[in-house]
Amino acid sequence: MRGWRDELPILLGVLPFGVIYGALAIKAGLPPLMAQLMSCIVFAGSAQIIQTRLVAAGAPGLIMIVTGFVVNLRHALYSASVAPHVRHLSRPWKWLLAYLLTDEAYAVVITRYTSSERVPSPDFRHWYYFGAGMALWTTWQLSTAAGVFLGAQIPESWGLDFALPITFIAIVVPSLKDRAGMAAALVGGLVALAAFGLPLKLGLIVAAIFGILAGMIVSARRR
């Protein structure tokens, strides 16, 4: 059960996201129970924070679903990457571990599984993964609850909604490592400004598609 211990430093980073999500969900008008249960049902930070904004803007359900799908599509990569390590497990284990497969759990688990000297024996591997995933899950639920509670106390004048772009800046900027990534971000941002007036909050999806295309074009040219 070393998984939860290796996850500890990451938990500190997750804590504020959970609180911010919970508070934004309440500010968007979601009932507290729904805000909390979304953390169990979806269990994906960025996607949940984006949903609060879509709810606040009155976006239609289909847009919410498509946006959530696109934002979480990257988890398919993690799924492919951990698949060989969980192949021998029973179905309930596989499903449980798939549910716990977040960015943060993946980062810790795959580091452990692929490091040469610290590979746990196959009999215990899934316990490591389970420990890391559950530590994260528990932190996410508790920090959501804290945010739901705080969100109701914080007055409108504090401009709490500004925590959303600030949080995303803190996530995006450090991961801008090459030109293709920068192109994806820049084009996504600029198209979002140009397409802001589109009906049904379609601007976000349109901007995402253009941004992804820009990233692909730049990386294709440099190869």
Binding site: A98, F162, P174, A192, A208
Partner: protein, 113 residues
Amino acid sequence: MSPQDPSLWIILGIIGLLTFAIRLSFIEWLGAKKIPAVFTHTLRFVPLAVLTAIIFPEIFMRNGEMAVNLANTRMIAGIVAGLVALRSKNVLLTIAVGMGMFWILQVVTHAAN
């Protein structure tokens, strides 16, 4: 979709199921398959494009209009936060400085008016 609409539960349920299906995809169904390199490359750009597409209108627009000027406290605090993130790569510090800067500017502009 209004936040009080009961059908929001269904929407959230679908989003949850889709997210779970994505996470389960290769573990349960596609285990032996290799992901095409194009797919891997493309997915890397998704969060960058989506998150920036949310950031830009939040900081460069006010009330649905472009607001690229020094009176836009969100823009200035956002740019400062971006610089802090670039230098420090520290998530907590970025959030703290960004929100702090925003509150200070709010107070200053209120006092000036």
